[in-house]
Amino acid sequence: MADVIEVGAAREDASPPAGGKSRRGVTQPGNRATPYLFLAPYLLLFLTFGLLPILFGLWLSVHQWDLQLPNRPFVGLDNYQDLFDSESAIYGDWWSSVRATAIFTVFSVPLLVVIPLGLALLLNRSFPGRTFFRAVYFAPYVLGVAVIGLLWRFLLDANLGLVNRLLGAVGLPADTPWVTDVPWAWVSLVGVTVWWTSGFNAVIYLAGLQDISPELYEAARVDGANAWDRFRNVTLPGLRPVMLFVLTTTILASANVFGQSFLITQGAPGEETRTVVWRIVDEGLRDNDAGRAAAMSIVFALALTVISLVNFRFFRYRED
């Protein structure tokens, strides 16, 4: 303890000489280049694959940029206009993908906000086996979308799958076309995603729950509040910032859905479950129209930003 104070006090006096000393070597404290040398490796990555693609994406979006053709003329806002012009060739596919993404997001987000909260409340109090159950619920999340996609394509197979097998065993219809027809395809995509990522959100909620002061619960109990009152008046307000975080990140994650529909429903029926991200990469990297795909990316990113901002506004308003 005394050491710390001494060092702290000594630093004040020693500061000017330390700065002077720095002129001797390149990496001495105080050298002007030092911070930039520390930053350089990351900065190189960040500029090339973090910042440049943002600017380059804008550039691509105002050109007719075919990956296979040498001639890439400037077309102004044509790529953007096509997305909103019902006469254009891309209009139908684009809005169908927007619709698919919207359906998935609207149905998955509420479940992914509420179910993990339930899991977190179940795991919040200390009891034997708590760490084990937390790990089990989190486990699906460490598997990638490729694994869970293949796995659920199989589990949901109408004839060979376990899901229909188990439903049949308890006397329910055993021939539901889970991955080839709507609305089942939506139920499948949302259900799989809830199974896959609920543990992740639950862990975030758990951290939030640990941060709520036990004294607040104690005070509520003294005031005669029952469990439901305590949940409504202590837990929920205490969790508001964490909930806002979960809600925002879950909306973003759901809106970016790709692997599930690519592997499980494979877009079926028809192209009904083809999502925006899938449409963008197909347009750009399969059909080689990088310009139009870049315009789609930018419209998509802007839409998500607006949704996030509205979200923040709404929550802050509610707080007042």
């Binding site: 911070p35 973090g50 691509l60 790990a135 796995l151 975030i204 973003l252």
Partner: protein
């Protein structure tokens, strides 16, 4: 009353455990079935007979070199985690401990990109990777993802939580910044570094969207795009497909069991920033 309450809690916990684990158990069971066994309608609950058919198919497969994908994935995820660790730790040190021109703006710019969905950068990043001649090489699944701001942000927060006294003592002893960074700060940051390494490894191991478009040659693929190929080639030959899925799951499940604390802490801390 309390006993009843406790029993009810455990009943719910066990039902949930079944829901979360049964699919994974089914994946393993199916991977040791024969083709004919897996084609039974309705499917049987246990393999009859037990068979290594699925694994034999993927191990001796030249059209779908699954073992090669496994090695590629292992290499890519390991090198990616190392790259993230080194670059993010150095940058985070500068941002947490050093004063320099442009620090505020630089940090704001880096953190700002956290709010841009990575999927919206795929098209321009593809063209950039193409210009660099990186398409269809392992580099393209190792390097670009390391531009993510998460690691820098995560480590900077951690470094800021470490009291500066120890470093000040080192300065008085004549240490330069590199020495302070490597000998004082990094040893103190082992838990955070482990967390970041594990999360980066997992993210890279599981990445699907980017590799399916930037890797083409069968022998260059990582496991996730490879599994997609396997599904296309074997369609309903589920023992083979599930054997591939098991192979892709085992390393991350082992990692999860071994580093559970780090993973869960990393995730909960990422939530607290909100």
């Amino acid at each position: 009353m309390t006993t009843l309450h406790r029993s009810a809690r455990y009943a719910v916990l066990v039902i949930l455990t079944l829901i979360f684990l049964t699919p994974l158990v089914w994946m393993v069971i199916t991977s040791v079935k024969t083709y004919n066994d897996a084609q039974q309608i309705p499917p049987g609950f246990l393999p009859n007979p037990f068979s290594t058919y699925g694994y034999e198919q993927i191990l001796g497969n030249t059209a779908n070199p699954v073992l090669r994908w496994f090695v590629n994935s292992m290499l890519a995820a390991t090198l990616h985690a190392l790259l993230v660790l080194v670059t993010a730790a150095m940058a985070a040190y500068a941002l947490a401990r050093l004063r320099f021109r442009g620090r505020g703006i630089g940090f704001a710019l880096i953190v700002g990109t956290l709010f841009i969905p990575p999927t919206s950068l795929i098209i321009p990043n593809f063209v950039i990777a193409d210009r660099l001649g990186w398409l269809d090489t392992l580099i393209v699944v190792i390097v670009p993802g390391a531009a993510s701001a998460f690691g820098v942000f995560f480590l900077r927060q951690f470094f800021l939580s470490i009291p500066a006294e120890l470093e000040e003592a080192a300065v008085l002893d004549g240490a330069n910044h590199w020495q302070i960074f490597t000998r004082v700060l990094l040893p103190l940051s082992k838990p955070a570094l482990a967390t970041l390494a594990v999360l980066s490894f997992l993210t890279n191991w599981n990445d699907f969207l980017w590799p399916i478009y930037v890797l083409f040659s069968p022998e260059r693929l990582t496991l996730p795009p490879g599994l997609g190929l396997l599904q296309g080639a074997y369609v309903t030959d589920y023992p083979v497909i599930m054997a591939g899925a098991v192979l892709a799951s085992v390393p991350v499940l082992i990692l999860f069991v071994a580093a559970q604390r780090h993973i869960i802490q990393g995730v909960s801390r990422s939530g607290l920033k909100g």
